[in-house]
């Protein structure tokens, strides 16, 4: 894989790897068990630039490329996927749409705090009746002089419990169907902005995934991104970028599972030899390693295309589909290699198994990704 990396990328990797190993790995199990969002680590991540990876330097970001971005997300996710998720969502579906579609005033207002990690971002699209079908959202924003009156019920908001700045999808023109959807930036603290209870999820438990409800919330019109009606366009652009991040996250989980699988297979003695000497285990390890490398290659390809400013939508969708499916399969095999111990929380693979599962669902299910890919191929 190093063939694709520059010296700079390798330094980024060794630096983020050192951070993940020393600061995240030791608390990964505890934050999962206690469903704790580790602010002490997030603050450090902010200072190191991990929360403004691709934001321009003049706005307080690190000004790095997409390849650096996926390296960072993979390494953090390898240590604790819930924190990789936080960074991925924050960088690519909260910060990115503001950068790509916001005006200078909006950049100055939101980007420095997000890029430095002083504030955490979230992406609010999903509603009880709108998931894969994003055009079915019911949230409304009715213009009233210099502000919108927003009513929204957003669910499964990643980072929801800690987010200050939410990229919120609303319907500004109820009669216009998909063309009536817009994006406004909602800030925590605005009267009527209410954060719900933390979801009791199977995996990603250190991430405060919550519902966010806006009741007659007055949001200034200057918080509208681009123009009214551009919501779906912004959403799709954000998700194209987001997919690369989630794919990198899935690779990180898969890599962690592969590593633990190999380690255990060499340690565990059955029939008087390490189980790694048994062919059935060897086959699993070979398949796992091959799948991880394939997924990683696809993620790198999507990121490289993005850096070259070439179309990458199909490749990002393929990478996300492949990496998330791989992550589930590899984590499953890692549990199998561990036998009964793999089903116990005492071993990391039990967490990887739970964490991997969601990557096939969020930021577009595998099924939606197949739709996107097929549409790209068939036209």
């Amino acid at each position: 894989m190093d063939t694709f990396l520059t010296e700079k990328h390798r330094i980024v990797r060794s630096s983020v790897r050192a951070f993940a190993q020393r600061e995240i790995m030791p608390i990964a199990r505890e934050i999962d068990e206690d469903r704790r969002f580790p602010w002490e680590v997030i603050e450090k991540m902010g200072k190191l630039g991990y929360l403004g990876i691709q934001a321009p330097r003049e706005l307080g970001g690190a000004g790095m490329d997409a390849v650096s971005y996926i390296i960072i997300i993979e390494e953090i996710s390898r240590a604790a996927a819930a924190l990789g998720l936080c960074a991925s969502v924050h960088n690519s579906v909260a910060l990115y749409p503001i950068l790509a579609f916001g005006n200078t005033l909006q950049h100055d207002k939101f980007v420095p705090d997000l890029a430095s990690g002083k504030k955490i971002g979230a992406f609010c699209l999903t509603e009880p009746n709108a998931g894969s079908d994003a055009s079915a959202i019911e949230a409304t924003a009715i213009k009233d002089d210099d502000h919108y009156i927003v009513n929204a019920n957003k669910v499964f908001v990643t980072n929801g419990g800690v987010a200050d700045i939410c990229v919120m999808f609303v319907r500004t023109d109820p009669a216009a169907g998909p063309r009536g959807i817009s994006v406004i930036v909602a800030e925590k603290g605005t009267p009527g902005f209410v954060v719900g209870e933390k979801e009791d999820l199977s995996g990603m438990r250190a991430n405060p995934v919550c519902s966010i409800r806006l009741s007659d919330c007055k949001i200034p019109v200057e918080n509208l991104l681009a123009k009214e009606g551009m919501g779906l366009k912004i959403g799709l652009a954000a998700l194209d970028t987001g997919r690369i991040g989630i794919a990198a996250q899935a690779v990180g989980i898969a890599q962690a599972a592969l590593f633990e699988g190999i380690k255990y297979a060499k340690e565990r003695i059955q029939f008087k030899v390490p189980i790694a000497r048994h062919q059935s285990i060897q086959n699993m390890i070979a398949d796992m390693a091959t799948q991880v490398e394939s997924a990683r290659l696809m993620v790198y390809r999507a990121a490289i295309l993005k850096d070259q400013k070439k179309p990458f939508s199909k490749e990002a969708a393929m990478a996300k589909l492949m990496a998330s499916e791989t992550s589930s399969q590899v984590a499953d095999m890692a549990v199998q290699i561990h036998g009964g111990y793999g089903y116990s929380k005492a071993y990391g693979v039990e967490r990887y198994y739970r964490d991997a599962r969601i990557t096939r669902i969020y930021e577009g299910t595998s099924e939606v990704h197949r739709m996107v890919i097929a549409r790209n191929i068939l036209g």
Binding site: D2, G63, I262
Partner: protein, 257 residues
Amino acid sequence: MGLNIIVCVKAVLEAGWGAKGAGKNTTLNLFDRPAIEMANELAQKYDGTITLVSMGPESACSALYEAMSMGPHQAVLACDSLFRESDTYATAKVLSAAIEKLSPFDLLLFGTRSSDSDTGHVGPQTAQMLSLPYISNVHDVMDLDMDKTTVERRADGFVEQFQITGSAAMSVVHGGTEYGYTGLYEIENTFDNKSIQRWDHTDLGLEAHEVGLSGSPTKIVALNPHKSKKQCQFIAGDVAQAAETLAQTLSQAGLVD
């Protein structure tokens, strides 16, 4: 003019997360980090410039960029195929030639040892060739002045304070500050604004016979992997009895009195 600090560093092979054949890329020798961190502190306090000096192949650049991302302003890589297979004496010869070329300087810092060959020779040998006083295992430079510099080192349960005049060389141990990670901004800045100068043996005024294998008084004749064997013994039975057996076993092995 501000302080001029030189830090000698080494590029070592990067280890993965224990995976076999993790890579042939280089990374900064872990034991050099304290020297760079101390140089950063001093450079900040006395408005100084930090120059890194290293000997190694082209692949060592990776480690030098990594090291510059921690703060140092520039780097020199003594790089020449003739330098291959240098022992610590020949390495010190090359480093001291590079350092002389960078003179005048106020302070020359080293890590205590390298994580790969672990000799700890290069610092003292280089200092000797440059006729500089050398203090090992320094953890703090209290104040720095060409007439009177005070440094502290820890040894054998004591803190020793030294005073030196003029330039000096020292190896640095970790002063107890938190492990510093390199931020993305610094990495990006390093690649945009800092550079590595490469010097070969002619740049350094060295003859071919002074460097590499021919300039090395010690030669490695064999290199074989050494495996230490671990033994694991399970002690069964109830807790009190197991504790008794454990104590006896450790005592018989001479591990406790």
